[in-house]
Symmetry: C2
Subunit: 200 residues, 2 copies
DNA sequence: TTCAATTTATGACTTGAGTCATAAGTCTAA
DNA sequence: TTAGACTTATGACTCAAGTCATAAATTGAA
């Protein structure tokens, strides 16, 4: 995350999006650096049959959609507000100028990209080679270790819906539901009134 | 790519690897920044049954394995020399010092990560949601547009084996062979004495 | 408060990618 | 030069995830 005060001198504007507003679409050119002030954003793709794949969720303080600012490519996915959100937007050229004049902030961008690349490397191998139960458990454990899941007496609460887990792992809802049930039977997970918990 | 001369002042050493030598393994800590001088490296994973997933190939001038230098994570995959290779290695701490003292080089790292993140976003959506023919064609078109495929009278030559295409897309060799045959029938590809060509 | 949409759930059936076997062509290192 | 490994190829069979239908519980917006 880059301090808002620093970005303000480079024409940063606060954009407001309502839940389910589209911030940018797959196949278009990148014009802005985006950093979330409040709300939540998801990046996703839809295939020809309308099946969704979720690239990731982004929360306050996080930036998204940088790659096409630095390499000559189009957006590989859509960005959609999943809640009413306020997002800081800086024009591409001004953002690049900012980085040149604040080189230490480049490390912040590197750390962010490094983190996302790590997630994608783990999930790509998982989706390409593992069975549903393995995929679901890997996603849950990744979320516990690297996202901000809350912990209580029952363990870590997995606050994804079954549908979201499916869209993150390339599985159908029914398959996720069955995988979670099976993992519960094997005592790898707990289901307490429909909520999923994991103890590590 | 960062100029070798710049890195030399930070304790860069040339490491030599023979074909199929392991450079680092999944689950271990990162100690070096790696940049290829000559040869080729692949990053991959093996699942429990030994099925391989190839995260990517890296060629002279390219760096690899940076994410765990910048975030506190373990390597998500193995790095293996696919040819006899010479690789520049700089100790993690010295590399970070280098970046602080040569801030403009950070852009080079950002561009590299951005490029790889773009590839992974495209392929993750592909592997999660598309059928074999779509996946194979997407990989080939991505390679044509963003890697260095040679073009001749027959079109772009796809210089991956069917097995490699499978390991890059999460498919079995037989499935790739059948997908390529079917794509040839649909005139999306040409097969000329076992080599695959694509005209765009 | 209510009604529609979403989420979790389960059973029966289908299907396409995986598996296995086999073989011919090609490459490569001794 | 040759033997073994790899690559491309094809057919038959299997099975696990997807599909479809249905329904109850929960959520949330009007």
């Amino acid at each position: 995350m880059i301090q808002k005060e620093l970005l303000d001198h480079y024409g940063a504007v606060e954009k407001r999006y309502e839940k389910s507003d589209v911030i940018f679409e797959v196949g278009t050119n990148a014009h802005y650096y985006y950093q979330i002030i409040s709300g939540e954003v998801k990046m996703n793709n839809y295939n020809e049959e309308g099946k969704e794949f979720i690239q990731g969720f982004f929360k306050p303080g996080e930036s998204f959609g940088e790659p096409p600012l630095f390499v000559n490519r189009l957006y590989p996915a859509n960005a959609i507000a999943t809640e009413d959100s306020v997002i800081l937007a800086i024009k591409k050229d001004l953002f690049k100028q900012f980085l040149l004049e604040h080189p230490s902030e480049a490390i912040s961008i590197i750390e962010n990209l490094a983190q996302r690349l790590h997630y994608k490397a783990v999930m790509a191998a998982e989706i390409a080679s593992e069975d549903p139960e393995h995929r679901v458990l890997q996603l849950i454990d990744y979320a516990i270790n690297h996202f901000d899941l809350s912990k209580d007496d029952n363990g870590y609460l997995v606050d994804f819906t079954r549908q979201q887990i499916g869209d993150l792992t390339g599985l159908r809802v029914e398959t996720v539901i069955r995988a979670i049930k099976s993992l519960e039977k094997k005592q790898m997970l707990k289901i307490i009134n429909r909520k999923v918990y994991r103890e590590i």
